[in-house]
């Protein structure tokens, strides 16, 4: 055979299994609830970063507004859980639909490429942020405080399993993260994913070959938006709240850092990068040295610059032995 790339799943099964076992074991050895919660946050952020990687790494679409879709999922699910029901399955669907729905509007940015796409997505997300933090809409969206008192979801069939408990919620995020990873791995290995990469590499040539490239870029944008909405749903449940800050450009920027630090065009890289960003953020902001802790964003930025300069392939490139 020609050796067209096989599905990535089959390529490094041992590493994947080890990572999965490690993640499953976290609640067993984590010293207390605090660290289990850190791990939940890391997984939620990993889902968000993997969804961005579909755009940034595979599609070559540098979205700087991905937080808008995260916030859409968070707010939609907060509203749903507060006013309708906290049942998990509908909430998952609402998160996906909210992200996808907003992405259909944000898809106006797809008319642009490169740096212009980046600026348009950024502007779009900042508009979403200003709507969410608008105090005139505080009656529905909570203004700059956001929506608070969001209940944790209730599991189907086994409603007795209490998701207010840190370890239980952690396992929910782990299941969702694994499902998102498997879905994205299948997508990027599929004919659709290969075509998306072709469009990233040379959109004009794909058009010359008879491909309506906009359709693929739109589909990728909507899928990425839906999965970001799913991460937002988990975030609202985890934090018992949805806040305007979730749509702010810093949230998009952190996800971009996670993707680039982890290594774009691999799904595990950005996932690990996201976990690293969450842990670093925590570590840097609780540094004992006064003066440094307030500047954790600066320090994180320095780590990012170091990665771009010295490890252009990210963590994934380091593991593979060369820049991806």
């Amino acid at each position: 055979m020609t050796g067209l790339r096989r599905a990535r799943l089959q390529r490094r099964p041992l590493g994947l299994l080890a990572l999965l076992l490690f993640l499953i074991s976290v609640p067993a050895w984590a010293p207390n609830r605090f660290w289990i919660n850190v791990a939940s946050q890391a997984l939620i952020f990993a889902i968000f970063a993997m969804s961005l990687d579909l755009l940034l790494g595979y599609g070559g679409m540098p979205s700087f507004g991905h937080a808008a879709f995260f916030a859409a999922g968070a707010y939609a699910c907060a509203l749903w859980a507060l006013h309708r029901s906290p049942d998990l399955l509908p909430l998952l669907l609402v998160g996906l639909a909210a992200g996808a729905g907003l992405a259909l509007i944000g898809a106006l940015a797809l008319r642009a490429r490169g740096i212009f796409f980046l600026m348009l997505t950024l502007a779009f997300a900042q508009m979403v942020w200003s709507v969410l933090s608008n105090n005139q809409l505080a009656g529905t969206l909570g203004g700059d405080i956001g929506l608070i008192g969001v209940p944790r979801p209730v599991l189907p069939y086994v409603p007795a399993v209490n998701l207010f408990q840190a370890a239980n919620f952690y396992f929910l995020t782990l299941v969702v993260a694994v499902a998102v990873y498997l879905a994205l791995a299948a997508i990027v290995a599929s004919p659709f994913g290969r075509t998306l990469e072709g469009i990233r590499e040379n959109e004009g040539r794909m058009q010359s070959l008879g491909t309506f490239t906009f359709r693929y870029r739109l589909a990728a944008f909507v899928i990425a938006g839906a999965l970001a909405g799913l991460a937002g749903m988990l975030s609202a449940s985890f934090n018992f709240s949805a806040t305007p800050a979730s749509a702010f450009w810093t949230t998009s920027g952190l996800a971009m850092i996670a993707v680039i630090v982890g290594g774009s065009r691999s799904l595990l890289g950005p996932a690990v990068g996201a976990m690293l960003v969450v842990v670093l953020q925590l570590g840097l902001s609780s540094l004992p040295t006064p003066g440094l802790a307030e500047h954790w964003q600066l320090l994180l930025g320095a780590v990012f610059v170091a990665f771009v300069l010295f490890l252009p392939g990210g963590l994934h490139g380091l593991v593979r032995g060369r820049a991806a």
Partner: protein, 245 residues
């Protein structure tokens, strides 16, 4: 598939890259398009494929006006081209490059789950790799290929579209004598119904391959005829053949 252009003009500011160009190429013809550097040959390919809109004039494919159609729609009608500067998918492998072209033709690129068609795609890719002399390079990323190998891949990408009209923009430029022969042989294998338009500076290749020749100079079509007529045309000798390469 026959192609015609009706009074096509393309302006870049003050420069007229094409002026009132009307061409008619019947189905199955092997046509060469020659002219000095900057004559407008690539620009003509760009307006035929839809990569560029003409300032005025129309493009007709198989008799139908395709001027308002986008590039990908014209490609679906059976139009393929190669690029003067190779337009590959640089970080993908040679095999993946071809697979993209095959899937685009079969219109299976939309599938999210691995489909049974992928076996067909893989089989066609391996036979094309062999036909293009690239089998040993299947797993190499396109940007790492040598110039001649990139040109072979460039041509094979267009052939994988199974076009009815194929536009070749200096496909042999920079090739060694041996690579040139291989490329000519690969093009000879095209079915006779395929219309071929070849932009080529090597007049030996042009006179060997072409049934008719069109000559562009400064965006103007100055001659159109059989190789013998073109050889005898004194205007052509002045603007083109007279100028040493």
């Amino acid at each position: 598939m026959n192609i015609s252009t009706a009074s096509v003009t393309v302006r870049f500011g003050a420069v007229a890259a094409l002026q009132d160009v009307s061409l008619e190429i019947p189905s199955g013809e092997r046509r060469a398009l020659i002219g000095p550097n900057g004559a407008g040959k690539t620009t003509l390919f760009d307006v035929i494929t839809g990569a560029r809109r003409p300032t005025s004039g129309r493009i007709l494919l198989a008799g139908a006006d395709v001027t308002p159609l986008s590039t990908w729609r014209r490609a679906r009608l059976g139009l393929a081209r190669t690029f003067q500067r190779s337009a590959l998918f640089p970080t993908l492998t040679t095999a993946e490059n071809l697979a993209l072209a095959v899937r685009a033709r079969m219109q299976t690129g939309w599938r999210i789950w691995p489909s049974r068609m992928e076996r067909t795609v893989a089989m066609e890719v391996s036979s094309r790799l062999r036909a293009a002399g690239l089998a040993a390079l299947a797993q190499r990323r396109a940007w790492t290929l040598a110039h001649g190998e990139q040109r072979a891949l460039e041509i094979e990408l267009a052939l994988a579209s199974q076009p009815r009209l194929l536009l070749l923009d200096e496909p042999m430029a920079g090739l060694s004598g041996e690579e040139r022969q291989a490329a000519v042989a690969r093009l000879r294998s095209l079915p006779p119904h395929v219309t071929l338009v070849l932009v080529e500076h090597d007049l030996d290749v042009v006179f060997a391959v072409a049934q008719r020749i069109s000559v562009l100079d400064h965006g103007v079509l100055i001659a159109d005829g059989t190789p013998a007529e073109i050889r005898a045309d004194h205007r052509v000798q002045e603007v083109y053949l007279g100028r040493a390469d």
